[in-house]
Structure formats: structure tokens, C-alpha cells
């Protein structure tokens, strides 16, 4: 029962995955800030770490407050493996920007897709759209700020 591709088949599973990804992204940027080649780049990474901390708080609040007992409908066609950025252990300072961009691109795609799957919860959909926009904005900043 339950196809493997549907491993994010519940509201809670989607939100938990997002929270974990934000946690990981926050840790990544904190570490990246210590390895950055310049102080402006370090500052950018620190700001991004903070943005991911705020995003995590938003997701935890959504999970707590927007769980609508009346419409906890099964979610189909959303799998964590399509969005999870692999571990970045062993990276070198020169790769920080591309690793960060890959992570943000995964998050952007995930939030865009998850927002559609959770369209029956408009508040959640809108929040996920905003998080997708945040990832997109960071992608743009990463293009202008070499790590």
C-alpha cells in the first residue's frame, strides 16, 4: 500500500521534510560563512542562514496552526528524493556558491510543487509560494555574490 514516490503523502510529512531541509540549509550557510573567501560573501551567507532560521519557524507555525482536521486529504505524487540536496561533506571553499545554488534551486522547486499539492489549504499554499520566492531571491543573490 502506498507507492514509494508518494513518501510525502501527508500534510505532516511535507512540513517535516521542509523543516529538515531548512535546518540543513541553515547549518550549511553558517558553516559556509566561516569558509567564505571574502567578508561580504561571509555576511551574505550569514544573512541567508538567518533567513532559513526564520523559514523554519514559519513552517513550524504552519504545521501547528494550519492543520485543518476537516480536510486532511492524502497527498499524491510528492517524493523527498526529488528535492533532497545530497550531503555536502568534503566540499571546498570554491564550491560554496554552486552548492548553495543547488540547494536553493531544490528548495524553490519543492516549495512550488508542494504549494500546488497543498492547494486545498490556501494559507499554506501562499506561505509555500512565499518561501519559493525567498529561495529564488537567494538564487539571484548567489549569482551576484561569489562565495
Amino acid at each position: 500500500m502506498g507507492a514509494e514516490r508518494d513518501d510525502l503523502g501527508t500534510f505532516g510529512a511535507v512540513l517535516r521534510f521542509a523543516i529538515q531541509e531548512e535546518e540543513e540549509a541553515g547549518r550549511f550557510y553558517q558553516e559556509a560563512a566561516t569558509q567564505a573567501a571574502s567578508s561580504p560573501a561571509a555576511r551574505t551567507f550569514e544573512e541567508m542562514a538567518e533567513e532559513h532560521r526564520v523559514a523554519r519557524g514559519t513552517l513550524e507555525r504552519l504545521r501547528r496552526e494550519e492543520v485543518a482536521e476537516m480536510i486532511l486529504e492524502p497527498i499524491r505524487g510528492l517524493s523527498a528524493t526529488s528535492y533532497h540536496t545530497p550531503s555536502t561533506a568534503g566540499r571546498v571553499a570554491g564550491q560554496l556558491q554552486s552548492l548553495a545554488a543547488a540547494r536553493e534551486e531544490d528548495l524553490r522547486r519543492f516549495y512550488a510543487d508542494a504549494g500546488l499539492k497543498l492547494a486545498f489549504l490556501p494559507q499554506v499554499r501562499r506561505a509555500l509560494q512565499r518561501l519559493a520566492q525567498g529561495a529564488e531571491a537567494r538564487l539571484s543573490r548567489l549569482g551576484h555574490n561569489p562565495g
Binding site: 500500500m1 501527508t10 505532516g12 517535516r16 501547528r64 496552526e65 492543520v67 492524502p74
Partner: protein, 483 residues
């Protein structure tokens, strides 16, 4: 394995029951005991009632604005402990973590509504009802109330009553379901932390004996009950015989009508949630799908396919979409209904009797779908309280309404349609307390009463909202003239 025994909370103190009789509290997914619950004695009930009565006068004299500050604090504590409450609920009741979060959210919403008690509790007045004579209606609290909740919503159901009663100035005793006392125990710990004065909120664990002692106690002013219809009838009669106010929510058999113009891709997920959410252990669960005319075949196929994809598992695994039923005994009851459906000639499209969940030997029943069900079959008449959906083909809306009205229950019914006219006819005609229009779980929000007609409710004032305020207050009329 040694497990802890839950305590009673009386007069602001956590105390062990003197009773030597204990029942196991079993995790429905693992089938292992996780705690024990004492069957408290009649003397312990008497003490709790007397303590609550002693606390009443001081509490009712506390201004409503001060009373609701305890509820503001309680809300914050519930938010801060949200995940722990939800996880406890999964472990004792079996529902999924999402369903548990939904239940805790509902409980918090009731706390939020009661913070409006200074407005909700206001009376009304009129000057000059006769020359220079005025009249006013004042709402006053009555004293000690109690709740006897069911196993399926151990946190939410008590909160349909407790916050309203206490915010209105009454004192309160909870007797949690002996099957699932843990989440309420945690919640009362939070009430203790919120600083409610000793005796305003009390908790006495136990089973039928405690419930009877509460109903018979002369100092108890009212009883709120939610459970099966058979027990609701008994409690309604007994509590009324002892001069109590009483409100009893009973069982249900909820029909979901699907019209040919229903938007099937939105209707099927709503029906799946309704029938299989909380493993069907919900008094608002959809039970019988009445497919009108051409809706039948596409609905049957899409519903069965969606049901077959549900992932059954332990509720703490976030990917689980349906958990176990509450107990071994309840599982046997559900399975006996499935067997009965087969014996009586219904066509079993999806058989949940043999579902297995790796590493969890608990009380799982898989999603089950019956087709070619007729109104005379047992599975179409009785409340199964398990993950069993039945499909019946009907000619038109009139036949669907006839079938709904033939049921002794009147808790909830829903129609799925794109037609405003059909929806309007449905809500106008159907004799049920909660009506869904393209909604499969018609669960009223905290600021509305939780409805129920016929054998689904005994009493006149329901839980939640303004009904609750009326139930927990007496209206006093004052007519005045000054010389």
C-alpha cells in the same frame, strides 16, 4: 515491563488513587502497555466534588476578565507543548500525528473562544418594561460540572465543555476515558502550570463506577457526555433523574451523497478523509456513500483505488495515512462487521481484514470498501466505528434523503454537487445536526455548537460556542423599581 500509574488531580494536588483496581493503557500500534489507570473509588469522587464545590464561590466571584487570563496562559502552554500533546495522543489512541495535531488545534480553538467570555456571558436588559420599572437578565454560573468523554477524541471533546464551564465561573471534574487517559493528564498538568486556583479543575480517573458516582452526586449540577447512543441514553436518563442538566452526544451513521455533477477529483479525497480518517473512529466519519445515478461507477472505481493506496502504519511515522483502531476488542468488533457484510451479500471490493504493518503488531484494520450494499444490511445500519466504507447506488436525491431519514441517527450528512439548488434542497430537508456541502467531515468550529439530531444527541444545548455558555449558566431575571 513496569509502567507508571496515572494520578488524579484534586484540589490542586496530584494524588495517587487509593484504589487497587487498575487497567492497562495500551499503545494500539505496538499492543504494549504504556501506563496504568486506576479505577478510582466513590469516596475519591465525593472528595473531588466537595473540593470543587468549595472552590466554586471564590472562583465565581473572580471577575471574568481575571478568569480568562488563566485561559490565555493555558493557550500559550498548549502551543508550547503542542508536539508533545500530539505525540501522546498518537501513542494512546492510535491516530496519525497529523490527526493528533488537528485534534490539539481544535482543543486550543475552544480555549481561544472562551477568552471571549466577558462578551459571551453578558446578559441583557430593557428599561421601562412598566412605568419606571426596568428588567434585566443576568447569566450566573451554577457550581460543579463534569465531563465523561469518549476514547476517540480524548483531548478535544473535554474541551468542548471544560473551558466554557470554567470561564463562566463554574468548577469542573473530568473523568477521562479509561482507555486513553494520558493526553488529558498532560493537559491538566498544563492547567496546573497555568495556575488555575485549587479545585477549579479536577481530574478523577476511572471507568463506569466513577461516571455513576458523578451522576448521582447531589452537588454535581450538570453532566456532559459523548459516546455511544446506548450509553448516551442511559446517562441522559440517569443524570436527569438525579436532577442534573445533561447534554449527551451519541453515535452516528453518516451518509455521503454524491451527485452526478460532483467534481470527482475533489470529492474522492474528501470522502477518503471522511471514511478513513482516524481509522473511521469518528462520530463524523462518512460511512455510506450514496452514489446518485451516473455518479456510481466512476465514484466506485476512483474511491476504491484511492482507498487501496492509503498507507497504514504507526501514527508517529509521518508518512502513515491511517493508524490502528484503539484496541484489540474494537478491532474484533470491526472485523465482525466486515464478516457480516460478506455474509449478507455485499461485494467486498477492498478487504482490510488481513493488513499487516511491519514491526507493529497492533490493532490495524486496512481500508475496506463494500459495494452493492442495501439499506437492510447490518453494515448500512450500524455504526461500525472503523475504516469501512459502503457504496450504495440510488436513483436520485429523493431516494438518498429517504435512506438518510430511515436511519435512527442524525449526526451528519453531506452532499457533493456542483448545483447550488441541490445543495440548498439537501441542507433544507435533511434531518441531521451537521450538514456538509462538498465537505466530508462536518466538524463545527469552536464558536458554533456541535450539532446532532435524533439518536445522535440527547438534550437541547450542545457543546461549544454560545450553546455551551447557555448550558453552563443560569439566566436570572431581575425586575427593579426605585422609590
Amino acid at each position: 515491563m513496569t509502567v507508571a500509574t496515572v494520578q488524579n488531580f484534586v484540589g490542586g494536588e496530584w494524588v495517587d488513587s487509593a484504589s487497587t483496581e487498575r487497567l492497562d493503557v495500551v499503545n494500539p500500534a505496538t499492543a504494549e502497555p504504556i501506563a496504568q489507570v486506576p479505577l478510582s473509588t466513590r469516596e475519591e469522587v465525593d472528595r473531588a466534588v466537595r473540593v470543587a464545590q468549595e472552590a466554586f464561590q471564590g472562583w465565581r466571584e473572580t471577575p471574568p476578565t481575571a478568569r480568562i487570563r488563566y485561559f490565555f496562559r493555558l493557550k500559550e502552554l498548549m502551543e508550547a507543548n503542542f508536539e508533545e500533546l500530539a505525540r501522546t495522543l498518537v501513542m494512546e489512541e492510535g491516530k496519525t500525528i497529523d490527526e493528533s495535531r488537528g485534534e490539539i488545534r481544535r482543543a486550543i480553538e475552544n480555549v481561544e473562544v472562551t477568552t471571549g467570555i466577558p462578551s459571551l456571558m453578558m446578559g441583557y436588559n430593557l428599561e421601562d418594561i412598566a412605568p419606571e420599572i426596568d428588567e434585566e437578565c443576568i447569566r450566573q454560573p451554577l457550581g460543579v460540572f463534569c465531563v465523561i468523554p469518549p476514547f476517540n477524541f480524548p483531548t478535544m471533546v473535554p474541551m468542548w465543555f471544560l473551558p466554557y464551564a470554567v470561564a463562566c465561573g463554574n468548577t469542573f471534574i473530568i473523568k477521562p476515558s479509561e482507555q486513553v487517559p494520558l493526553s488529558m493528564n498532560k493537559l491538566v498538568h498544563l492547567m496546573d502550570e497555568a495556575g488555575f486556583p485549587p479545585g477549579t479543575v479536577n481530574l478523577v480517573n476511572g471507568a463506569r463506577g466513577v461516571a455513576e458516582a458523578l451522576m448521582e452526586h447531589p452537588l454535581v449540577k450538570g453532566v456532559s457526555f459523548v459516546g455511544s447512543t446506548a450509553v448516551a441514553k442511559q446517562i441522559y436518563a440517569k443524570a436527569a433523574a438525579h436532577g442534573k442538566r445533561v447534554q449527551c452526544q451519541g453515535g452516528a451513521k453518516n451518509f455521503m451523497v454524491v451527485m452526478p455533477d460532483a467534481v470527482l477529483e475533489r470529492t474522492v479525497p474528501a470522502l477518503i478523509t471522511s471514511v478513513y480518517g482516524c481509522a473511521g473512529e469518528r462520530c463524523l466519519s462518512g460511512s455510506v456513500l450514496l452514489a446518485v445515478g451516473e455518479a456510481y461507477e466512476p465514484l466506485r472505481d476512483a474511491f476504491t483505488e484511492a482507498a487501496s493506496r492509503l498507507k497504514v502504519g504507526y501514527g508517529l511515522d509521518e508518512s502513515s495515512q491511517m493508524g490502528p483502531v484503539v484496541s484489540r476488542r474494537h478491532k474484533e468488533r470491526v472485523l465482525s462487521y466486515i464478516n457480516k457484510g460478506v455474509e449478507e451479500g455485499a461485494r467486498l471490493l477492498l478487504d482490510g481484514r488481513h493488513v499487516e504493518v511491519k514491526d507493529y503488531p497492533g490493532f490495524f484494520v486496512g481500508p475496506t470498501v463494500f459495494d452493492r450494499v442495501n439499506p437492510e444490511m447490518t453494515i448500512a445500519r450500524d455504526e461500525i466505528f472503523g475504516p469501512v466504507g459502503s457504496i450504495m447506488r440510488v436513483r436520485d436525491l429523493d431516494e438518498a434523503v429517504e435512506i438518510i431519514h430511515a436511519s435512527p441517527y442524525g449526526n451528519a450528512a453531506a452532499v457533493f454537487t456542483s448545483s447550488g439548488q441541490v445543495a440548498r434542497r439537501f441542507q433544507y430537508r435533511v434531518q441531521c445536526g451537521n450538514i456538509g456541502i462538498n465537505i466530508g467531515i462536518v466538524a463545527p468550529m469552536a464558536f458554533f455548537p456541535f450539532g446532532g439530531f435524533k439518536d445522535s444527541f440527547f438534550g437541547d444545548l450542545h457543546g461549544q460556542g454560545r450553546d455551551a455558555v447557555n448550558f453552563f449558566t443560569e439566566r436570572k431575571i431581575v425586575i427593579s423599581r426605585w422609590f
